[in-house]
Structure formats: structure tokens, C-alpha cells
């Protein structure tokens, strides 16, 4: 059997420009940041990003000019500040100027769309969204591409009267069928069995929905070890195509039980994204002039890496200074 273990460069190099990528994790938690930086390093273009919800994974790629389309319910940094990349491309004529396209959804409907994708069904009903502007076709920035692009559903939503139980009107929403899923986890067996510690978010469904799943991991272990407690495992190797070992590959987001959110680094990063010029400088310093993830970690430094470590029992670092 061919090994699934790849380097980060190899795993990302196989992704063609224009691919749709579904990121695992949640806003500023367990995001596959080393992979995001490698996508920027390799100069990927016209990406179609999905995440439920997105954080720096989308904002940094949009700001870097690597993104054509996003479909998600949220792009932000939570308490850590404003998503300046997203804002620059969206606000005040930005959409017209850049050609960037965004499709707004919600956590529940996004989750159900990924669930539908994971089940191999083309759509699923949902009770929310009606009455809001999220489904207003006037706001559908993807309207011109629907029916033409194979990566997009022909319509955003379809109203339907419950044909089975007379429960009234609801919406059908389309499955998400990404080319790639990229998720970052704590532990993977050498054949691809995944064990996630803490919140799993939608990573299981994402891995099952994608045509090709890349799992970056803090550590690769033996399948024999993971087989001692199969009930603790989160994703079967069935849904995993590539395994990439990247310790601290979620930095600066938080990875449950491994390391906490790097507030200091994160705040500086968001500050840098405020202006195109300062963001380009930041990208030069932390991504483009850094040949690989190991060099990124060397630049981060052993003191920082050790200071962020989480208590594996608590899941976080109880003594981390969260405010400057």
C-alpha cells in the first residue's frame, strides 16, 4: 500500500488553482494554519473557500489575493479583532474592483450543507433562513455563475412545502461538495485514522464530504496504538487521503490539549492586516521569506512554543496572559 504520509509542500502542491477547499476547525480554533501559509507560499490563485465558520484561514488568504469565492457564515477573528482582508475585498466597491465573490450562510445551514455532502445526497431541508435577507436573490453574488460552474449549486435555496408531514414551508439547501478538505488535528495513525481531542466541530463531515482530504497533525502515531481505544477515534482512514505531520500546525489558533491561542502573535498579525502594505510586509516576513514550517517554528522560538503549551487535562493553558 502506498503511504499517505506527505510533506506539507507535496500535499499543497497537488491542489490546482481554482480548487474548492473546505477548512476544518472553528474561527480561531484548530485551523490548519501551516497549510494556509503554504497555500500562500505556493502562490495559489482563484481559490474557492468553504468553512463553517471561517477565521484567519479565509481572512489571510483573501487579503493575500488568493481567493475568488467564499461560501461561509462568518469570517472573523472573534475577540481578536477585525477581518481586514475580507473587509478590503468586500467594502466600498471592493467587490467590483477585485472580482471577489462571497456567499452568506449560517452555522446551522452550513453544517447541514456539509452533512448532505458527507451523505452523498444533493440537498437537505432546513427550517431557518426564511424571513431574512440571507436568501434574497438580489444579494446573491454568485447568481451569474450558477448553472455554469460545476463547483456551485444551480440555485442558492429552493422553497418547498413539506410533502410528507404537512409541517408547512421550509427550504431545501444544496450539499457542499468540496474538491479538498484540509483539517488540522492532534493525532493521526500512520494509515490515516484520526483522533481529535476536544471539540470535533464539523471535521468528520468535512473529511467525508470532500473528494480529497488532507489531514495535518501535531503527531503521527501507529495505527496499533489508536486501535486500543477505537471509540476515541474521530475519523476513519477511509476519508483520509494525505497525512502531514506539522507540529504547531494550528498556530496561532488554539489546539485543544496541545497549545493555547497565541494572543500576542495573533494581535500583531491582525494589526498587520489593517493595511495592504503592512500585510504584504507581514507575509514577506512570516510566510514568503520562511521556506517551510520548521523554519517558521524556529523563527517563533522555543520560548514562545513552550509558553503556549496547554495542560493536556484542562485542554488549555491556565496561566496564559490573554490581555496585553
Amino acid at each position: 500500500m502506498v503511504s499517505k504520509i506527505k510533506t506539507l509542500q507535496e500535499a499543497i502542491a497537488q491542489i490546482p488553482d481554482g480548487s474548492s477547499i473546505l477548512f476544518g476547525g472553528w474561527t480561531v480554533a484548530r485551523k490548519p494554519m501551516a497549510a494556509v501559509f503554504e497555500l500562500i507560499r505556493q502562490g495559489k490563485k482563484e481559490l474557492h473557500l468553504l468553512a463553517n465558520p471561517a477565521g484567519p484561514c479565509a481572512d489571510l488568504l483573501i487579503g493575500a489575493g488568493a481567493v475568488k469565492i467564499t461560501e461561509t457564515n462568518f469570517i472573523g477573528h472573534e475577540v481578536l479583532g477585525i477581518p481586514y482582508g475580507f473587509r478590503r475585498f468586500f467594502e466600498k466597491g471592493g467587490l467590483d474592483k477585485t472580482g471577489f465573490l462571497h456567499d452568506d450562510w449560517t452555522v446551522m445551514t452550513g453544517a447541514l450543507r456539509i452533512l448532505a455532502g458527507s451523505m452523498g445526497v444533493p440537498f437537505i431541508p432546513a427550517k431557518s433562513l426564511r424571513g431574512t435577507e440571507i436568501i434574497d436573490p438580489e444579494h446573491d453574488l454568485l447568481a451569474d455563475l450558477r448553472g455554469k460552474s460545476k463547483k456551485l449549486p444551480n440555485k442558492k435555496v429552493q422553497f418547498i412545502e413539506d410533502p410528507f408531514w404537512d409541517e408547512g414551508e421550509l427550504l431545501l439547501i444544496p450539499a457542499i461538495k468540496p474538491d479538498y478538505a484540509i483539517i488540522h488535528v492532534q493525532l493521526v495513525g500512520d494509515k490515516g485514522t484520526v483522533r481529535i481531542d476536544g471539540g470535533n466541530f464539523l471535521d468528520y463531515y468535512a473529511a467525508a464530504a470532500a473528494k480529497h482530504t488532507i489531514v495535518t497533525t501535531e503527531l503521527v502515531t501507529t495505527e496499533e496504538y489508536l486501535q486500543k481505544h477505537p471509540e476515541l477515534n474521530s475519523i476513519p482512514s477511509e476519508f483520509v487521503n494525505d497525512i502531514v505531520e506539522v507540529p504547531y500546525g494550528g498556530h496561532p489558533t488554539v489546539v485543544h490539549g496541545a497549545y493555547d491561542l497565541d494572543f500576542e502573535f495573533y494581535n500583531k498579525m491582525v494589526d498587520a492586516t489593517k493595511k495592504e502594505e503592512t500585510y504584504q510586509q507581514w507575509l514577506q516576513e512570516w510566510v514568503k521569506d520562511v521556506p517551510d514550517h520548521m523554519t517558521y517554528l524556529e523563527k517563533l522560538g522555543v520560548r514562545k512554543i513552550l509558553a503556549l503549551r496547554s495542560d493536556p487535562g484542562l485542554g488549555y493553558n491556565a496561566f496564559l496572559k490573554r490581555k496585553p
Partner: protein, 265 residues
């Protein structure tokens, strides 16, 4: 004279009082989390705190900085994934109270967390709904927490992200321009029960579904005139009463248990 507490602390305490003991409350990042932790440590010890990222019956020892922070997962008896928490528990209608924030709230309690200005040429792009739109539609009751400013409490939201009392009807997939429909006509239960601000507690008229001032922070020298000046529509103050001020216990919990690091305060 320097007051013993400020408007923002009052907002957190009065929001916490809206949570009843034993209720299942789904909270978002920020002030809702702070208020829920105050409630759980004061009058609502049996409240069940849920977060859309997964924590079920969370009782954190340290304030989570977001709903996916490991601090929210520790000590919970079960961790859901968002299909389970939102697609099942919320969509079944099992959640008593949704606790939401936003950039704008209108006279009917509709929330905007998407754009300021027009959608395609926005003045400000906000992060987006997250789970707010689903929670606003499907929880049994909603509570909104927002700073009391004229640009935030508006007659009509720039973009209707999250359902309040009066929503936009659609026909053949297209929005019927200028029309509003009661949320109950779309089959949604509940609706916003209160809007807790930095000036007081607003509620909604049972018949008209329009927001009015129910209580105000007279203890912090807030006047009804100030509320009128800082509200973007003509708000009814005729039913307003001074609030019962925060207790020492509530303030102690807020400052020493809920958010001692001042992450959100």
C-alpha cells in the same frame, strides 16, 4: 460621585437576570457568555449553557474567549458537534433562550451582523451571521445585548440577518418588497423578549411588536430623555421604570468569576 459600577457592567448584570433557572440557553461569544456565567453563579444555578461550536451544559472555570475555546468544553457532560447542537437540538425547538449580539437592532428586534450600508457596496462588512440567524429563528425566546447608540438601535436594519418579530416575506423565491410578516406566519416560535443595552432593558409590545423602554438605569443617572436621544426611532418610554440596581453579589461574580481578565468587559 464615582459610581460603584458602570453602564457596561449594568448591561451584563441585567442581561444575566433575563435567564431563568433551569433554562437551556445558547450563548454567543462576548457579552452573552459573560452574562450567562453571572446567571449560573447567582440566581440560575441549574441553567444549561450551550454553545453552537459544541459545549453542552458548559460550566467553565475560566471565561472562554470564543464558543470554540477549550475553556468552554472542560467540565461539560457532553460535547456536541454543530450538526447535533444546531441541526438537532436547536432545529427541534428544544432551546429555551437564544442570547445574541449584533451591530444593529431594529424596532422589531431584527438583528444585523452582515453589512452596514448596501450589500453590494457596503460601508462596513461585518463578519456575518455565525449561528445567530438560526438561533433567532428557532429558539423559544431571544435576548439581545447591544450598546445603546443611535446608529445601533435603528428603525430598520440595513440587512436583516437574524429574525426578530417582523420579517421579510418571499413569493416564488423573490422577496416581496416593502412587505413585513409576523414571524409566527413563517412557523417560527418565540421571538425577542428583551433588548438589554447600556441604558436599560427594552421589551416589545404584545400587540404591535414594537420595542419600548421597560426599565432604565436611573441608578447610573440615565434618563428617559437620554434614551430617546440615543435611539434611532421614536421609542415609547411611558412604561419605563427604574431598574433594581446590581447587587454586590452580582458585581462580585462579574468581576471575579465571569471575566476577571477583562476579556470582554
Amino acid at each position: 460621585m464615582m459610581k460603584a459600577y458602570n453602564l457596561r457592567e449594568s448591561m451584563a448584570v441585567h442581561a444575566s437576570r433575563q435567564i431563568k433557572n433551569g433554562e437551556k440557553v445558547i450563548v454567543g461569544t462576548g457579552m452573552p457568555l459573560v452574562a450567562a456565567i453571572i446567571a449560573k453563579n447567582c440566581h440560575a444555578k441549574d441553567a444549561v449553557i450551550l454553545m453552537e461550536a459544541g459545549p453542552y451544559n458548559s460550566n467553565p472555570a475560566a471565561l472562554p474567549s470564543c464558543v470554540a475555546d477549550p475553556r468552554g468544553f472542560v467540565g461539560a457532560p457532553w460535547v456536541a458537534d454543530p450538526v447535533q447542537m444546531m441541526g438537532m437540538i436547536l432545529q427541534q425547538g428544544r432551546i429555551d433562550l437564544g442570547f445574541l449580539g449584533g451591530a444593529q437592532v431594529d424596532m422589531y428586534g431584527n438583528l444585523n451582523s452582515t453589512v452596514l450600508g448596501s450589500y453590494k457596496n457596503a460601508d462596513v462588512r461585518l463578519p456575518g451571521s455565525g449561528g445567530a440567524s438560526d438561533i433567532g429563528a428557532l429558539a423559544k425566546r431571544n435576548l439581545i445585548i447591544i450598546a445603546h447608540e443611535k446608529r445601533r438601535l435603528v428603525e430598520k436594519v440595513d440587512y436583516l440577518t437574524t429574525p426578530g418579530w417582523k420579517l421579510y416575506p418571499y413569493k416564488d423565491g423573490k422577496r416581496i418588497q416593502g412587505a413585513l410578516v409576523d414571524r409566527s406566519e413563517l412557523g417560527y416560535q418565540g421571538g425577542p423578549a428583551a433588548v438589554v443595552t447600556t441604558m436599560g432593558v427594552m421589551k416589545f409590545d404584545a400587540d404591535t411588536k414594537v420595542m419600548y423602554v421597560s426599565e432604565y438605569y436611573a441608578d447610573l443617572d440615565v434618563t428617559l430623555e437620554m434614551i430617546k436621544e440615543n435611539t434611532g426611532f421614536a421609542i415609547d418610554t411611558s412604561r419605563a421604570k427604574p431598574v433594581v440596581p446590581p447587587t454586590e453579589d452580582e458585581l462580585y461574580i462579574l468581576r471575579n468569576v465571569a471575566d476577571p481578565e477583562k476579556i470582554f468587559m
